[in-house]
Amino acid sequence: MNLARAATIILAKELRTEFRTLELLQATVVFVLVVLVLFSFTFDPTASESRRFGPGLLWLAFLFAGSLMLHPSFTREQTNETLAALRLAPIEPFAILLGKVLANFLFLLLAEVLLLPIFAVLYNVHLASVLGRLLLVLVLGTLGLTTTGTVFSAIASQARMRELLLPLLLLPVLTPALIASTEATAGLLGDPPELRQVWLAFLVAFDVLFLTATWLFGEYLLEE
């Protein structure tokens, strides 16, 4: 079976599992909301401050939510020992990883898109005119987050203290993606809105680099 088909099947399985209860999606959306609200308590921003700090806070919230949401990706397999079954299937290990990366990506992206209007209201930003370009930034940034996040979820699931370990491993590695995403978003929310090419290039480089690394080395994480 070729890679694309195998990955799609895994993706479908992940989506089906999640859409059965939707609890992960709900929890993620609520969590990001709580984070955004808490930020406003601790910083009590004025209108212009909101617009200045908004992008950073948004991506921090996505980052925290993402690292929590990625956690079940592999631990869920562990409780039912389904990973062994997956490994026995006649597909290359990278297909398993790719399927999970795509599933996590779609979920996190969905949560982010749902949260955008709420963010716009809470932090007084106008998103309508830059929506297309903003979505591009969201896609690239989220892809980087979920690629590394899925791999590190596989790593953390084999160690102790995995709930703490996943963010600890993930957040430092994501620093470049966080900076790039925040700066790109800030550029779009600026006056006049501009799409800073440099940061887009960074995100693309980040995504390509880590997807390739996952393809080359990820399979070692799925070994017996």
Binding site: V151, I155, A159, L169, P172, T175, E183, V198, F217, Y220
Partner: protein, 235 residues
Amino acid sequence: MPRGMKTSWLATAAVAALIGLAGYSALFVAPTERTMGLIQRIFYFHVPSAWTGFVAFFLVFVSSIAYLLRRRPQWDWLAVSAAEVGVACFTVVLVTGPIWAKPVWGIWWTWDARLTSTFVLWVLYVSYLLLRTLMGDPERRATVSAVFGIFAFLDVPLVYLSIWFWRTQHPQPVIGGGGLDKRMWPVFLICWAALLALMALLVRQRYRLEALCHEVQELAIDVELHSAERATEIR
């Protein structure tokens, strides 16, 4: 004295001499910098420590790949040794940075490009060491940390570039600014050489520790096996 021990003492003495030479050059031979004066001499160990740390982390990268491809535990021993020494190097950078900043800028910390990147790097490899601590099975640990070691090093250039670009858009006070006078370069290089030699020594020592750990485990198994054999023999 067994031959291994003798070369060890010679190496240690050579490194100590090199360090002494480097220290002396940095403190007395190097010309005094115009704007910062004495405090600038910290530079001669602050920056080479970072460079040495990079070399150490590159070693982690290479050993991690070698382990995944070859599966010989010696590569894993090298990886953890290089990682620990690298963290030690960057700890030095993170401590000497603020010591330099306080007299020059009046503040302990500034989120300037170099210090911020160093901090991220430091946390990254501390996480690597923490990951290893949290895993029991030696083979799983070696495999998993090898993958993380590879990802971590691939991230390093991105961290530096992104923080540097970010800082050019939002500037802050810079630690260790100012170029290098032509006369300062030799001193700088001697200090770097001394630190690289020290790194090699420390990595080798830590590697021996890991190898010994392995030997202890093997011996313990041997002892168990032999006592079990004896027990059945007697019966």
